[in-house]
């Protein structure tokens, strides 16, 4: 669960931040049900706005949420 790559998402994204910054891969802490683990997600290089893409939210992230809920 604590593996760094479990929820990381590195596919190229077409999104750009409203503040004008580019989205780059950044270290992010994901928290749920008292668990915390590091992942890499696209986030704005300037303002730090983190993107959770649809595919991640409905795929791996949902899966991990369910596992943590049953713990």
């Amino acid at each position: 669960m604590s593996s760094r790559n479990d929820l990381s998402f590195s596919s190229a994204t077409e999104w750009r931040c409203r503040c004008g910054g580019n989205l780059v891969s950044r270290k992010v802490a994901a928290l749920y049900m008292g668990s915390r683990f590091e992942v890499e997600l696209p986030a704005c290089e300037k303002c730090g706005f983190i993107l959770v893409p649809e595919e991640l939210a409905l795929g791996k992230m949902l899966e991990v949420e369910r596992i943590l809920e049953d713990k």
Partner: protein
Amino acid sequence: MEQSRLKDLERRCVQEEPAYCQAACPLNVNVRAFCAALGKGDYRGARKILSKAVPLPDILGRICDHPCEEACIRAEKGGAIGIGRLERACLEKSPPPPPPLRPPSKNGSVTLYGGGLSSLACAWELSRKGYRVLLEFTGPIPGGRLHALSEELLPKSVLEESWALLQHMGVVPVLRTNLSFEHPREGEFVYLGVDDPALRHSISPESVDPLTRQTSIPGVFAGGFPREGKASPLRETADGKGAANSLDRLFQGASLSSGREEELCRKTRLYTPLHQVEVLGPRNDPQEEARRCLQCECLLCVRECAFLEHYGRNPRLYAREIYNNFAIVHGHHKANTMINSCALCGLCKTLCPHDFSMADLCRSAREEMVDRGFMPPSAHEFALLDMEQANSPRAAGFHPGKAGTKGIFFPGCQLSGTLPNHTEALISFLDDAFQETLGILLGCCGAPAWWGGRRKMLEERMEGLRHTLQSLGNPPLILACSSCNEVFRELLPEASRISLWEFLLEKNLPRGTPHPHPLALHDPCTTREEPLWREAAREILRKIGQSFEEPDFSGETTRCCGYGGLQSFANPEIAAEGVRRRLGESRHSFLTYCAMCRESLAEPGRKTFHLLELLFPSEVPPERTGFSGRRENREDLRRRLLGPPEIPESPGKNLRIFVTPEVRDLLEERHILDEDLRQVLWESLENPRGLLSPRGTSLARSRIGNVTFWVEYRETKEGFAICNAWSHRMTLELMS
């Protein structure tokens, strides 16, 4: 869950009880498995099953008196399975396995008198356990009465091979010209096989314990007596095997009788329904005959329930699994999803001959999960928030009758949400009947809390309702929804209740307009224990001239639409399978008298009608309203009937959003509400953070409660066109 409760539940489920044939067999042969193997042409496998229970199967398998056939319930559907002839076919068509290795010798020696079948069986059982066996008999080879059987029935070679096998196992022959039994000395042990004609009168059957086969003479065991005046090869074999078991226990210093009670009178509580079994007469071919075996089992509940079938087990195993789920301290509660997937509809209990209720089991398990803090938060949260909205001042409230309150109509939150205009028309109709003494109570009964195991939340709801009713002098509640009725029946029993349908029949029924085609009547699962509700709905249909048909599962065996027990929230796939099964029962459109059944059973091209649509046919409502639409309808209805709520509008309420049907389906599936979209958009207008795509769309997010919502939209002159939306529950923090 208490262990005593688990034991009670396990006892109720009869799926693992032996088949009727097996229960009738004193050797406890697993005939069901034997037939299954033979039906597949696996003669060796079938022989293995026989050998497990039958000593020297090559002899008994050819001459067994098979009481199993009398017990076979296939008899009612074309004739009992010819188990005796299948055993013979199996033995003739499969080679005997190579003789087993002789086991290491044990302390213990027994002298067996007589060469009959019971002595041979006893010799086999003792020798394969490693005891020293002396077999005293007359003639060149043992067999007693077996020698008199025809070559066709029992070939001599079979007897010779069996005798060779016994000698290979170490059985020592003691040949006698005259066989006579002498009392053993102290410390000697003897078995008397009175099925050998030479020993027929050596001991009286009355002096033998029928279970242990121990006689009144110390150290002497006996068996092989005729039963009801006739020789029975099966009983003889069982006597020999039973005596060997006693001797083994004796040598090991164990109780001779403990745990053997069933050997005398094996019973089964199995229930195998036969109503769907086709008649099929006996077949000559052994494989085909074996395939006629019904493989008796119950599984009555499992076959008819998409949930029970989905997890592929029987209730007995589910109960054990749920019990184990509570025993976990560290690790995963693997049964959580299963527990939350039951529709709590009670069909299993109705079908079960011993009243096993998965509904009671799963509901109490959910309550325990909530109490112990491991109910997954996402399982029921959406439904509980829906309940909260339905009970909020925006959607709920009470309106007394103009001239007092002699009765209260409680439409329930889902009827108000799906058919608000029909509800309004109905209220106006009822008000006339009540001469302006009808009170209106809008809100949710608390069913989502009841189904979701939220006892405390439910009790608070009941307390609120109890208080309202008491302050009005406890007038009767007129209920349109049978789920509300179920909740009140169980948790507010002091409230006086009547179904809307009975009330209409009693007071005044609108003329209504029947649908031009026959409709399939779907009883809501919460009417399972309410025959008056079901009969009233039928009577109304007859009175307004609506032709209808009853699906296979109707009345007290009706199916759930998948909304019950919050099944569709915890496990939408199982709920969808349940709907498929229900709709598959008729080619007609369905008709029901529960708003959520109407909503859940609607499918493209075939709508499901609510009874109120026939009674108040002025307007054609949408086939399905959806979560957002229901919320909006409840609030609208509240404003129309009770006036505007005394709380400010939620922020963003007036933002105009546009949702295509495709996006609407996606939002519904993902449980994303219009008010969530508006909240995200409103926050993004207040604090314009977010992303932009080269396609000209914007992406905004907001944390609402325990969920982060993402909304992709396109801003237009008229408002916001929603392109996509998704959500997650995790929170994220930038680390660098």
